[in-house]
Each structure stands twice: as structure tokens, then as C-alpha cells.
């Protein structure tokens, strides 16, 4: 066998390489639909937004609504909770962000309403639902591996790497909140 090899590339070598390359591209193209079918389908993508009436949430209360299969917390913050959230120096936090930045979508007819905090209720560690009004900062506490969030939903201690996500939302009227 070995004695049959020649130093010069032949036309046959060229054909082998071209055939192999075409087969590899073909296999890749065929694999893509088989892999991509597992991504969210059209009906899942269609559930992108949810409407909530927030009139029923008292000051200090948290409403949990389901959006894209996940909980979203709508928190009607008290003056004290807002102050606590604003007084922290963002630079000192594990995931630096100011409270103003996290509630900037909470505007009703152009006026800022920092009493409304809207965050995805999924711990950024491994996805448990944190418990409200618990933990050292009276924000949230995650029972799974002990992450602690403040009244702005920012991570303060524990294994979670990021603040609770803020979804895209808007107040379409004074008490009508659209998430997504």
C-alpha cells in the first residue's frame, strides 16, 4: 500500500479532497435543521407580551405574574425601600447599576415613577424563584443557594453573578403595565 504513494498530488487526490469537502458541507447543512428544531418554536415566540393591572398592588406589595413561562415581580416600593435602593453607591456592588437605571422604564405620561420595580423573578444563579421581603436587604432571598438581592433586585451576596433581569416593559396607562 505505502509503496503506491507518489510525491506529486494527483488529480485523484484533488477529487478526494473536493468530495470530502462537499460531503462535510452537506452534512453540516443537514445537521442544522436537526439541531435548530430544538430552539423556541413559533408558538412559544408568539407569547412574547403580557398585560397586567397593577391597581390592586398595595404599597409594599409584590405581584408575581407569568411572562414567557417565568415569574415577573411587580413591586410597589415604599419610600423607605426606594431610599435604601438609591443610597447605595453603585460602584460598591458586585454588578454595578444605579437604582435609577433599573426603573427608567417606569414612566407614566413622561413622569418618573420609581415606586414601580419590575424584575424577572428568576435567580441569576441557577434559576430558582427568590422569596420577597426576605434576606439582609429586605429585597429578595433565594432559598436554593442563598443569594441575597436588595430592594432594587440587585445582587448583594451569594453565588448569583448578576442582578435580577429587568424585562422590557411600559405603562400604557396609569395602572396598566405591559411586559415584553
Amino acid at each position: 500500500m505505502a509503496s503506491a504513494s507518489t510525491a506529486e498530488p494527483t488529480r485523484r487526490d484533488m477529487l478526494y479532497i473536493a468530495t470530502g469537502a462537499a460531503a462535510a458541507v452537506g452534512a453540516g447543512a443537514l445537521a442544522w435543521p436537526l439541531i435548530n428544531q430544538m430552539n423556541p418554536d413559533a408558538s412559544t415566540l408568539a407569547l412574547a407580551s403580557t398585560e397586567v393591572d397593577v391597581a390592586s398592588i398595595p404599597e409594599g406589595g409584590i405581584l408575581t405574574v407569568k411572562w414567557r413561562g417565568k415569574p415577573v415581580f411587580v413591586r410597589h416600593r415604599t419610600k423607605k425601600e426606594i431610599d435604601e435602593a438609591q443610597q447605595v453607591k453603585a460602584a460598591d456592588l458586585p454588578d454595578p447599576q444605579t437604582d435609577q437605571d433599573r426603573v427608567k422604564q417606569s414612566t407614566i405620561s413622561g413622569a418618573a415613577h420609581p415606586e414601580w420595580l419590575v424584575v424577572v423573578g428568576v435567580c441569576t444563579h441557577l434559576g430558582c424563584v427568590p422569596l420577597g421581603h426576605q434576606g439582609d436587604f429586605d429585597g429578595w432571598f433565594c432559598p436554593c443557594h442563598g443569594s441575597v438581592y436588595d430592594t432594587s433586585g440587585r445582587i448583594r451576596s451569594g453565588p448569583a453573578p448578576r442582578n435580577l433581569d429587568v424585562p422590557t416593559y411600559a405603562f400604557t396607562a396609569a395602572t396598566k403595565l405591559q411586559i415584553g
Binding site: I35, M38, N39, P40, D41, T44, T64, K66, R68, G69, K70, P71, G121, V122, H125, L126, G127, C128, V129, C142, P143, C144, H145, G146, P159, A160, P161
Partner: protein
């Protein structure tokens, strides 16, 4: 290593068939005439027990699938329907659910046997790595099976474990969404887990065939850790010697298994899994099935998301490198007095990690889990490589026959 082929079909039809497809000869050579070291102890019966358990899981699983509905609205109800309405449904489900636990009991004993007697060392590296692959497939199968009843632990276990992939830099979130088929664990996730839970046991069966093939090429290790030198003196035919010993071991194991099925069917499970999944409320304390607890403890011992995930998977993958981490020339811990101490400490560390994995991740539990995690990795990465260089092993018997005679010599003399 194959023994002298003694198979001659006794009937004319048998001879006709054998000359066209020699499968009976293959079976005979593998499970009847196959030479086994004559000094094997009961730890060598777990391979047969594991094969039995795989068959039991496949049979009970196929039956459960006849009555189970993989849909978020019906899954929990269909499992209750199996428990209450289906004839013998409770029995089939308890056999399957406890069967998974027994499968892991057996595999852990089987693996620790290998660790103690040095069964991963040359020439059994490929055999050992195939075993690690089977173990990984078993973990994936058990995890996806546990999601199917769609209780609170099913849902939150699935959420936490699939979220492990979100720790991967850059592509983590895309991978997690892809695994879920949505933005959280939901119906698409349950459906694909059912499909894969049905598939993986058959993939395990395929790898088991390779595992047994590799075993039959290199031959079995044995408590003395010396290779077979003389087939006549060192070995016995598989049937009846190993067949009967395996059967006896299996029956004892089945009594243990049946005790769980009939007297403590929910002991190894978690009560919260009898509450239907609720995506808005996490149970106050989530724990995985007992057989994952040591790895769960390692995950939580590391105070960083990515670090925890890397350590957890690393704790399993490291097993595949064992043949090259152990530098000792002696296989069996019987002749390695120092290794033996570290080995038992390792077993205790694993049990300790298992206990810590079931406890809340607070204070002293976390510190203890960190210390044991250090020992877990230290055992493989520091102790194993160094011990081979510094330990003075005890004299190893010249052959298996010598090992047997040294132990039973007096009795053998008296009989002859």
C-alpha cells in the same frame, strides 16, 4: 483472552445454523467456557447485577410509557393514574423508581471495586473509560426520568440543572434556551426529555456491549491484581462457577431491592415530588436524587457560578484520567497499605459530601463541603500520582493460583 473453544452444537440443526451464524458459539465462548480468575469475590457479581438492572429498567420503563402522558397538563395526573388505576401500576412504577436507585447503588459499588483493586490500570484503560461513559449516560437518564412525573422536585431540579449550562461564557444562555425550547422549563422541555429518556437506556445497552467486549479482550482483574498466567491453574470456566456466584449475588441484591419496593417505596424519593410542578414557587429546599448529592455538594462548595459548574463536571470527568494519574505498579489495594487508608478516606469523603449535599448551603456545612471537595480532587491529583512513587507495596503473589493457595492452602492440602 479467550479460552479454548469447546463449543460443538449437539444437534444437526445446531451445526447447520452455527456454520451460517456462529452466535451460539459466541455466547458459549463468552458466558459458558469463558475463563474467569478463580479468586473472584462477591464484588465481581455487580457487573451481572448491573446488566439485570438495565434490563429491569427497560422493561418497566416501556410499560410505564404505555400509560404515561408527556404533557405539562397531564404528566402529573397520568403518573397518579398509573399509581391508582392501572392494574399493578403502583408496582411497575415503584419498581422503576426504586430500580433507578438500585442501579446507582450497584454502579457505585462496581466503581469503588475498580478503584480498590486497580481495575482501571493497564491493560484495562479503555474498559474503564467505557464504564465512565456508561455512568455519565446513566446520570443523564436518571435526571431526565426524574423530570417526567412533573412534581415540584422534577421541575425545580430540571431548572437548576439546565441552568448549569448558562454558566458557560458567551454561548451559555443560547444553549440553555435551546435545551428548554423556550424561555423556561416548559412543555417542549418535558417532551424532549421523555424522548431522550426513552432513547438513552438503549445507548447504554450499546456501550455495555462494548464494555463487555473490551473486558473479554483483556480479561478480568481479580482481588490479587495479578494477570492470568496459566489458564489451567489460574482460571475456572464461567459456567457453572461464575454463573452460580452471580446468580446468588443477584438474588441477595433483589431481596434488598424488593424490600424498598414493598416496604419503603418512597424512602429514597422526596415528598415534594407529590406536589404538581408550579413554575412560580420554588420549594424552600431543593435537593436532587440521592445519587447526585456528592456532586451537588461540590457545585455549591465553590463560591462562583462558573467555578462551581466546572468543579462539578470535573469531579466526574477526572475519573476517565485515573489510569494515568495512578503511578503505582501494583494494582490491588490489598498490597498497598498506604493507598488503602487514603482509599477509605476517599469513600468517607464521598459519603460526607453526599450528606452535605442534602443540607442547606449555610455556615459550617459549606466549610465542610469545601474541605471534602479539596480532598476529593486531592485524592486523584496529588495522592494518586505521588503515592505510586513513595509507597512500598507488600510482596505480590506470583500468580492467581499462588494467591488462592496462600489463603486456602491448608484446606486444599487436607482434601487432596
Amino acid at each position: 483472552m479467550s479460552g479454548p473453544s469447546t463449543y460443538v452444537p449437539s444437534s444437526a440443526i445446531g451445526r447447520w445454523f452455527e456454520s451460517r451464524l456462529p452466535i451460539m458459539g459466541l455466547m458459549h465462548g463468552s458466558f459458558v467456557a469463558y475463563p474467569v480468575p478463580r479468586n473472584l469475590n462477591y464484588f465481581w457479581t455487580f457487573g451481572g447485577i448491573l446488566s439485570f438492572m438495565l434490563g429491569a429498567q427497560i422493561i418497566t420503563g416501556i410499560i410505564l410509557a404505555m400509560h404515561y402522558t408527556p404533557h405539562v397538563d397531564y404528566a402529573f395526573g397520568s403518573v397518579e393514574h398509573i399509581m391508582r388505576d392501572v392494574n399493578w401500576g403502583w408496582f411497575i412504577r415503584y419498581t422503576h423508581a426504586n430500580g433507578a436507585s438500585m442501579f446507582f447503588v450497584a454502579v457505585y459499588i462496581h466503581m469503588l471495586r475498580g478503584l480498590y483493586y486497580g481495575s482501571y490500570k493497564a491493560p484495562r484503560e479503555v474498559l474503564w473509560i467505557l464504564g465512565v461513559i456508561i455512568y455519565l449516560l446513566m446520570m443523564a437518564t436518571g435526571f431526565m426520568g426524574y423530570v417526567l412525573p412533573w412534581g415540584q422536585m422534577s421541575f425545580w431540579g430540571a431548572t437548576v440543572i439546565t441552568n448549569l449550562f448558562s454558566a458557560i461564557p458567551l454561548v451559555g444562555d443560547a444553549i440553555t434556551t435551546w435545551l428548554w425550547g423556550g424561555y423556561s422549563v416548559d412543555n417542549p422541555t418535558l417532551n424532549r426529555f421523555f424522548s431522550l429518556h426513552y432513547l438513552l437506556p438503549f445507548m447504554i445497552a450499546g456501550v455495555v456491549i462494548l464494555h463487555v467486549w473490551a473486558l473479554h479482550v483483556v480479561g478480568q482483574n481479580n482481588p490479587a491484581g495479578v494477570e492470568v498466567k496459566n489458564i489451567e491453574r489460574d482460571t475456572l470456566p464461567f459456567t457453572p462457577y461464575a454463573t452460580v456466584k452471580d446468580a446468588f449475588g443477584l438474588v441477595c441484591f433483589l431481596i434488598f431491592y424488593a424490600w424498598f419496593i414493598f416496604y419503603a417505596p418512597n424512602y429514597l424519593g422526596h415528598a415534594d415530588n407529590y406536589i404538581e410542578a408550579n413554575p412560580l414557587v420554588t420549594p424552600s429546599h431543593i435537593v436532587p436524587e440521592w445519587y447526585y448529592l456528592p456532586f451537588y455538594a461540590i457545585l455549591r462548595a465553590i463560591p462562583s457560578k462558573l467555578g462551581g459548574v466546572v468543579a462539578m463536571f470535573g469531579a466526574i470527568v477526572i475519573l476517565a484520567f485515573l489510569p494515568w494519574l495512578d503511578t503505582s505498579r501494583v494494582k490491588s489495594a490489598k498490597f498497598r497499605p498506604v493507598y488503602r487508608v487514603f482509599f477509605w478516606a476517599f469513600v468517607l469523603a464521598c459519603v460526607g459530601l453526599g450528606y452535605l449535599g442534602s443540607q442547606p448551603p449555610e455556615g459550617g456545612f459549606v466549610i465542610a463541603a469545601r474541605l471534602l471537595t479539596i480532598y476529593y480532587f486531592g485524592f486523584f491529583l496529588v495522592i494518586m500520582p505521588l503515592l505510586g512513587l513513595f509507597e512500598t507495596p507488600k510482596p505480590v503473589p506470583a500468580s492467581i493460583a499462588d494467591a488462592v493457595l496462600a489463603k486456602n492452602g491448608a484446606a486444599a492440602q487436607a482434601h487432596s
